[in-house]
Symmetry: C2
Subunit: 135 residues, 2 copies
């Protein structure tokens, strides 16, 4: 792991530990998104399952990686392309999932079109039933 890569951890105020270095490296080397299980497989059980969960959680909070929901009950994780500010992800892109191998790839340039308001949606943020909560 290079100094530049460790800086990703430093800049986010994270201690540099073996686990975080290894897991960040996996993401930097990965072509697609990774599941918790992929990470366990690729670390030869060097780290506790709980540590992997907590590391992923921390990386998400810091904006280093983002979550990708799937229909098969296994959230995937992938590097944020730009440096997402802590707690302020801006990764409104689309994900491609291969029909054959199910590899999941961020299509950072493909974003979701703007949404037209309907009687069910009040703004791009709240549904009609909730409009009273808007300021």
């Amino acid at each position: 792991m290079t100094e530049a890569q460790m800086d990703i951890l430093r800049k986010n105020g994270l201690s540099i530990t073996e686990g975080r270095k290894k897991i960040l490296e996996l993401f930097l080397d990965a072509d697609g998104a990774l599941a918790h299980a992929d990470i366990e497989k690729n670390t030869d059980a060097a780290f506790d399952r709980v540590t992997v969960y907590r590391t992923l959680q921390t990386f998400v909070e810091k904006g280093i990686i983002h979550q990708i929901p799937t229909t098969d009950n296994a959230v995937l994780y992938a590097l944020c392309k730009d440096n997402c500010a802590a707690g302020h992800h801006h990764d409104e892109h689309v994900h491609f999932i291969c029909n054959h191998c199910h590899k999941t790839i961020c299509l950072d340039d493909v974003t979701v079109p703007l949404v037209k308001l309907t009687e069910r949606i009040y703004t791009p943020a709240n549904c009609y039933g909730c409009k009273r909560y808007l300021q």
Copy 2:
């Protein structure tokens, strides 16, 4: 439940049972998407948890409902707008999630833009590593 609604089950080659009628009715009445937990709540535990799982699975297979992934590891389900052929969903639309109440609504008219081929994607169906599996 009307005859027309029961026809949805008949047309899909499903036996008409109390559980299926009740769960289908819930979807027909629902404004947004439903989670497994929502269904259990709204049936007063009249059906076994396993039955609910199996009914949802059957409905997905038959194209009556489709799955909506979420980042909090709780797959949601919603009615397919058009009659999706069994095993051939055509629900490539976007889902709106309310910031406040988290109600999830299908935006059937908002679809994802076409994907440009890149060195990682071979067709809209397979990734580059898998192109050898294409016919």
